[in-house]
Amino acid sequence: MNLTSVLSILVFSPLLGIVVLAFMPKTADKSIKVVGFLATLPALLLALAAYLHFQWGKDLADFTVSAKWIQFHGINAPEPYFSVYYELGLSGFQLLLVVLTAVVASLSAIAGAKFVKKEWKGYFMLFLLLEIGMLGVFTAENLILFFIFFEITLIPTFFLIGKWGYFEKEKAAYSFLIYNGLGSAILLIVIMILFAKTGSTNIDYLTQLMAKPEAPLSSDLKMGLFIGLLLAFGVKLPIFPLHSWMLKVHVQAPPSVVMIHSGILLKIGAYGLIRFGMGIFPEQFGTLATLIAVLGVINLLYGAYLAFIQTDFKMVLAYSSISHMGIVLIGLAAMNEAGVQGAIFQVISHGLISALLFFLVGVLYERTDTSLLENLGGMAKGMPIAAGFLLAAGLASLGLPGMSGFVSEFMAFLGLFKEMPVIAAVGTLGIIMTAAYLLRSVLGITYGRAHREFAGVLDLKGVEFVPVLVLMLLIVLIGVYPSVLSAPLKTTLETIMLGIGG
């Protein structure tokens, strides 16, 4: 069976939805929402099919597609050089991220239909464009294609924040645009230097080329390029001093967009660091490993500490995201199998948990018009089911054993303790603080003094159960049966370890 067109269909399937939406009248609210949701399904089904394909022991390379696309003329180099190919592919790591993206996108479409209050047509068209960008980012097999999809995510996100967000939405949208614009500017410089020096941007080719001693780049240049990548993806992840934009986005963007943003977009940073940073420049990554570990611990502690003193639940979750991304860095800095696996687990796990938490924030906000901790309280009385899920999500986030958060944190720290025990020991403080701030805010919302004006709020109902149940199920599944993730990751990890030389 020829599967080469599957990935293209998967990535561009939301386009169909955009076209259909474009021809629908603005007033047909109901059907716009339905179409918006349905348009995310083909990608989801194909992603799951690809996962099954893998589980049945077939080769993911079946999906690889490569076609000649752009040829830059004028540089004196033989034919395959200075050509950009349209090439999509899947490795185990990419497969997981594609599945995660498709799942979260579909659930976010439900959230969008529920929580967005105006102009659904524009909302869903931009939303679907964003989905194309995200799916493309994780399947692109060369850096230029990756960059193109990466930038495609910027524009719809800018509009989604700026038009459908809360009070200071435009400021948040600009902040997002400029920080990410700068990040991608650095990324573009790195990509173009690699392209100009080697004549190719194919990721596998570059990975192999850089491993050879006769690579056409001096070690200084390599170091410079790696630092460029670290900065570019550091903005996205975000790494400590580059994070301020992300707080604004988390607070101002509509919950359905934050589900995507926190769940998927931040993960592009982690993906880039792992696949390009560690993959193409393993030696430089090793040189800076201590720095990265320290940055990770700073992220973890700083995020956790500030999350503890926030008054807005959305801010708590925003800082919590920073904190959890610290764990990704910690795992990567270990540069051993456990650490890297932990980091990747954390990427997936946090994607699911934060999507769930922000969905619940959306539910709360829709009922109460507030996300301030002091206004919320005793929600367990009015909406026991939602409160229960919130508590469960909070516990997953703080790393309760049996849920996905635990596996990832455990492995990340296991890895780092092997390599840098002192830094890891400092980092463990963060785990305690995580428990403290999450329990403070979650318990403050669910229990405590009930606010009378919220006495009659409705509990979860109807389709709202779908995202909550699906996400919860996946979180528990990963927690009790981690090999759903570790099996696909096996080859990816082996490749990375080979590059590191460990």
Partner: protein, 504 residues
């Protein structure tokens, strides 16, 4: 020279020029004999047909051998054909804008002149592309600029239009004088105005004294032409002229006139000063010696254009600074002097032509309706006309250089040139990317107005046919060359022969 000698030349190489010249003359006469109160728009459409005919005839010439008439006063090489196509397409779109232009004050009497002056300016630009001689280059340049002076001031009873024309004449006159003075040095040193002959005689002589004079000549020619390109620090005329001139003229200045400016810069710098050997280091041509100087101008142009654009509240002024910034990007390609220089400049100008023309078409529609040119007039455009807003959004995204659009591929080409080669220009390219990020602010500022802000009046737009065609071409072109850039790049590679015959 006898008649036989004249007949020997292959005059068919000049068909595109003859078409434009003939139709310009025809429109002039028609305008003269038409009854006073009759609508002159038909003349504009005749002009458009002429431009299309000229495009077809250039395409017919494509692939043929290099033709030289009268000792290279006119030469038809790949470079000429490539850039002539750009000029013609640009001018064609400008004419469409001009046909749809509804002036508020004082244009109706001059509408006929409006059209044939565009054609004569275009003719000037076309002569410049096909000229291997300083004299014809200069004549082409003058024909273009003198026509533009009148066009800028064509709204006779409009204060801003007059101011615009006045400033343009003074600045333009000075810059032309400087260029000409520089050219006179070159002539004095070599005794020839033929570019190839100049190049040969300069490459053989390496006298120290001469080199100093040549450096001086280079600086003067370049400074004079930098005025035309709107490059910093000689850009001050652009915002005022762009603001006051009628919108089609502004579009013409920012696209066609700028393209012609780059044509003459490439012709003179690459033939004369790449051949001339500099002082001391005998291996290095003057152009490479002066690379830092061009790099400085490119950097300053990008910074000033992008930063000052941030503060503008008038959309035409903003686009003036934006077009200054884009000139800076193209100067980066000129600085790097890489082997892909023609590709990167040609493709960038093509992308710039499409996105800028489309943007000006929308600016024309919106400003005509509101009667002013404030950026705030774009508020709520999405509500009033979703199609216009989305099209404008797409063009702005292309101007900002986001992937999926021609603007992005244009920038990639320039980066490749900047990073390959023996001396990679890391700083300049980084500056280019950084200033591009700055440009997000003002391009997305317009987006904010269009999509986020409420409209002050809810009246709908009537889009004239001419504008519709321009928008269609601009959008289809921007997206097509953004997704499949090789349609254009391969056209150049296969038909224009890599412009290899430029130097012969």
């Amino acid at each position: 020279m006898s008649l036989e000698t004249l007949q020997q030349f292959n005059w068919s190489a000049m068909t595109p020029e003859f078409i434009i010249l003939g139709v310009a003359a025809l429109i002039t006469l028609l305008d003269l004999f038409m009854p006073k109160n009759q609508d002159r728009r038909i003349l504009g459409w005749i002009g458009i047909v002429a431009i299309i005919a000229a495009i077809v005839s250039v395409l017919n010439l494509v692939g043929g051998p290099v033709t030289s008439i009268l000792d290279d006063s006119f030469r038809l090489d790949s470079f000429a054909m490539g850039f002539k196509l750009l000029l013609l397409v640009g001018a064609g779109l400008v004419m469409l804008l001009a046909v749809s232009y509804e002036a508020k004050d004082g244009l109706e009497e001059y509408r006929g002149e409006f059209y044939y002056l565009f054609l004569s300016a275009l003719l000037g630009g076309m002569i410049m592309t096909s000229s291997g001689d300083l004299i014809t280059l200069f004549i082409g340049l003058e024909l273009l600029t003198v026509s533009s002076y009148i066009l800028a001031g064509i709204r006779k009873y409009h204060l801003e239009s007059n101011e615009s024309a006045m400033k343009y004449v003074i600045n333009g006159g000075i810059s032309t004088a400087i260029t000409l003075f520089g050219m006179s040095y070159v002539y004095g040193l070599t005794g020839s105005t033929n570019l190839v002959k100049i190049a040969t005689s300069l490459s053989t002589v390496a006298d120290g004294q001469q080199s100093y004079l040549l450096t001086l000549a280079f600086l003067m020619v370049f400074v004079g032409l930098a005025f035309k390109l709107g490059a910093a620090p000689f850009h001050m005329w652009a915002p005022d002229v762009y603001q006051g001139a009628p919108t089609p003229v502004t579009a013409f200045l920012s696209v066609v006139s700028k393209t012609a400016g780059f044509v003459i810069v490439l012709r003179i710098l690459l033939t004369v000063f790449l051949a001339a050997v500099s002082v001391g280091d005998t291996e290095k041509p003057i152009l490479l010696e002066m690379q830092d100087y061009i790099a400085f101008i490119a950097g300053a142009t990008m910074i000033i254009g992008n930063v000052v654009a941030l503060k503008q509240s008038n959309i035409k002024r903003m686009f003036a600074y934006s077009s200054i910034a884009h000139a800076g990007y193209i100067l980066v390609a000129l600085t790097t002097l890489n082997s892909n220089i023609f590709y990167s400049i040609w493709f960038y100008l093509l992308a710039y032509l499409l996105m800028n023309m489309g943007a000006f078409a929308i600016i024309q529609v919106v400003t005509e309706k509101s009667g002013s040119a404030k950026i705030a007039d774009f508020a709520g455009l999405y509500r009033r006309s979703p199609v216009l807003a989305v099209v404008m959004g797409l063009l702005l995204v292309s101007l900002a250089g986001f992937p999926g659009t021609a603007g992005f591929i244009g920038k990639l080409n320039i980066f490749i040139g900047a990073f390959t080669g023996s001396t990679p220009h890391y700083v300049l390219a980084s500056l280019m990317i950084a200033t591009t990020v700055v440009s997000y602010f003002y391009y997305f500022g317009v987006m904010t107005q269009m999509f986020f802000r409420p409209a002050c009046d809810d009246s709908k737009f009537k889009i004239p046919a001419g504008i519709l065609i321009v928008l269609l071409v601009a959008v289809v072109g921007s997206v097509l060359f953004g997704v499949m850039p090789n349609i254009a790049l391969d056209f150049m590679q296969n038909n224009l022969n890599n412009l290899a015959d430029f130097f012969s």
